[in-house]
Amino acid sequence: MNITALDPGTVQLLTDVAYIVAIAFFVLSLKWLSSPATARRGVLVGEIGAALAVVTTFFNPELVQFQWVLIALFAGAIVGIPLGLVQMTAVPQRTALSHAFGALAAALIGISEYYLHLHELTKFQVVEISMEVIIGSLSFTGSLIAAGKLQEWLPQRPIVYKGQNYVSFTVLGLALLSAVILVFNPTAPFVFPAMVVISLLFGVMLVTPIGGADMPTVIALLNSYVGLTAALLGFVLNSKVLVVAGALDGSSGFILAVVMCKAMNRSFTNVLFGAFGQLQVSAHAQLEDRTVHTATPEEAAAILSAANTVLVVPGYGMAVAQAQHKVREMLDVLLKKGVDVKFGIHPVAGRMPGHMNVLLAEADVPYDRLVEMDAANSEMPQTDVALVIGANDVTNPAAKTDEGSPIYGMPIIEVDHARTVMVIKRSLNPGFAGIDNPLYYEDKTLMLFGDAKAFVSSVVKELTGGGE
């Protein structure tokens, strides 16, 4: 096939058509993702759209040297495939890393556009490029820090110092100031690279002070920044396909960030600048001399098999203990005994939006057994046993009753309205956010002390052996 045989006008037309089809497919892809029944078709359609756009791009008559691009794409596939095969527990850090890659790609293209057209840029184009490069650069380093925290290469706790927000805002202000200088003098030496470096620095400063518990929100916010970067790049290059893809990605990240914030009763500003997790000292005081009821695996198994309805409330602790497969075995045994078992999923269970559903799906828990928080709460008064595994704050009734609690106002799964509550936990130590949970001292609560995986497997053994 001889590419040069096609005249440039025809190629342009074909490219435009291919990009429009790609965009239509992208929208369909997201539409079909709305339900598990059609979701895989959605992925396929997205793949076809992307492939179509990529292949058509190679027919662009301006392209003259292919060796580096082909090597880059090949290397991208080599890196991308293992990143597509990570374990489900590692999906949050993989996602943060892919945000970093997306931001990097968009920022680098913006940077090269600046240097290519340095002497012919209008003021307006300088504004577009500067915004694109600033947001892209800060999303790149911010996402890297988030990935490092989730991978636990960096400390999870918020790293804060006095006057931090002032320093951070000053740095952001310097980046914007550089952009303003460039508008009036696009060729001012060193200002553009300085703006890039300052923005990279700001990304680090933005995410470092944010604690591990807030990572679901941060990932979603960075997601929306990356989408915004791609859309801005579309403005810079006058490419509608990028504008649309970026707008879709950006609105998705934004929606997820709003969902996460609502689920934690926080605002964006509070997540970004509040440095959660260092204020709750007061709650610890009255810990000591309250009694708790405990139960053994045998007793827990007896209570579970006598129940009609059981609601399991899993938290990330379950995944840390690698207990999800044992939990699924327990589900199978209880279902066989005629017990109706459901899983109540809090929106912030896990480390990114929807993470807990994926972890349970991986363990072969059917998704019709997973119920959202509101549905779980409305069924709670008819629930015989609520079994909490590796979750803490999302079940803490203090969020409803104690105005002094740092999580006051956060929606919770109201396990305290079930007839019996069982909590599998290593010890009485307060959880990740360091907040005491009065649930543990209620009369109807049984504490099941031990490692989640070991405890659930003893329960399973008891249910299968001790049953009939």
Binding site: V64, F235, S251
Partner: protein, 98 residues
């Protein structure tokens, strides 16, 4: 303001509203695959990277374009792959593994 900007702004606003309405309907059950999928779709910036890297430009633009093509394409490949892997895991009761 340049004409292109206005046009792009129209497209951006409409796509933003469309995205908002479509994505709002995605069940929270699938929020993780949603983020993985939008990541893969966003990697369409690879087409811009390909053009910059393969067009006659400066050494700098070609190198940056190639790095961008690498980063974006790894997102595209990895993003679609992991989305499909996750979605394959979601099953209804009674349906055993395929």
């Amino acid at each position: 303001m340049p004409q292109g900007f206005i046009e792009n702004l129209y497209v951006f606003l409409l796509a933003g509203f469309l995205g908002f309405e479509v994505i709002r309907r995605v069940s929270p059950l699938l929020h993780t695959p949603l983020m993985a999928l939008t990541n893969a779709l966003d990697a369409i910036v690879v087409v811009a990277a390909i053009i910059i890297a393969a067009r006659r430009g400066t050494v700098l633009s070609e190198v940056l374009g190639a790095i961008a093509a690498f980063a974006a394409f790894s997102n595209m490949v990895g993003g679609f792959l992991i989305t499909d892997r996750m979605l394959r895991m979601f099953k209804l009761s009674g349906k055993k593994k395929a």
